[in-house]
Symmetry: C2
Subunit: 189 residues, 2 copies
Amino acid sequence: MALRHAVLAALLDGEYSGYQLAKAFDVGVANFWYALPQQLYLELAGLERDGLVAGRRVVQETRPNKRLFTVTAAGLAELERFAVAASKPSFIRDDLLVKVQAIDRIGAEPVIAQLEERAAVATGRIEVFGKLLQRLRGDETEERYLRDGERIGPYLTCLRGREFEQGHHDWCLRTAELLRSREAARAER
Amino acid sequence: MALRHAVLAALLDGEYSGYQLAKAFDVGVANFWYALPQQLYLELAGLERDGLVAGRRVVQETRPNKRLFTVTAAGLAELERFAVAASKPSFIRDDLLVKVQAIDRIGAEPVIAQLEERAAVATGRIEVFGKLLQRLRGDETEERYLRDGERIGPYLTCLRGREFEQGHHDWCLRTAELLRSREAARAER
DNA sequence: CTACACATGTAAACGGTTACATGATTAT
DNA sequence: ATAATCATGTAACCGTTTACATGTGTAG
């Protein structure tokens, strides 16, 4: 049960509905995990069944009713247990890297295009993360916020998320350029 | 079928047995994917059934017999098809990030220890990648190798692998230090 | 004689993705 | 009218992980 703890951690910052959580997880604002809406509704149901989160129904007139969830004491205890246990190592698993691995034996153009598209997507994400970081630290400098802030967890994971995207972006662009220049050299011969 | 193409791409560099592949995938020398031995044996069986790889039995006297696999023409065509199709975006999914996200509400010590351990593991991997890169480029400079080399796919993915590990390493250490100094400040009060 | 490296698999359980399903309100 | 946003779920499928299973040769 992997999503479990990610959802619990996300709910530490306040009450969220399945729908709100889904948006955060989907866009990647949740910089430490990713999940589809369906999975979240399922997981929230399971968490509630096990008493780790509590949901309260909010009746809305103009919009459909929704359910807002909070972490219970048992949920926090579960997170605590999870944090003490060993983490499994994180690995890269990326279709695009597989394609680049094979690049010398397959057509390069489609892969180059995908690398450039990825870089563009990453640029967007970097901006999103940047804004989130600004919002979290408010008026303070990063240094002071990290030293004195009360809730720095989301800031720290967001930093890693942004750096990951930056690294990914740079590599994609560099690789695309390199492959392009090799294609050009090939065409000349 | 995600492992499929990763295995095909890995087999482009020569004949490998399930066991040899497993080591590469397990240690992370295969910098673009990760898989356990069992899965590889299963996947190789499937790939052979579908005619995408061909296995030949090698009888050994001193060691158990083994089967070496090569990509067939059909396998290469499958890779080609795969490369043209859209790649799904890559996301971070990491237990340790979940723990850091929750850090303000749980005990920090075990998480700090895990961050430091991760950094140490990453240091090891960075070295492995560095050596692999050296071996791949031989006597040439990186620039020349990437411009004129015939098989640069593995080099490029390895570069990304190393940068990822470096980024991960730096973040883990920075975060661990920060959390330690906050713990120290907390203790003083 | 013990541990490690070589060598290959099967079966069950789990977690995540894809497809299916529904329906109201608001903005273009 | 049409598309987007709000809002919540179920079911089938696929891919990964964990546990089980076996056996030889080599180095310490």
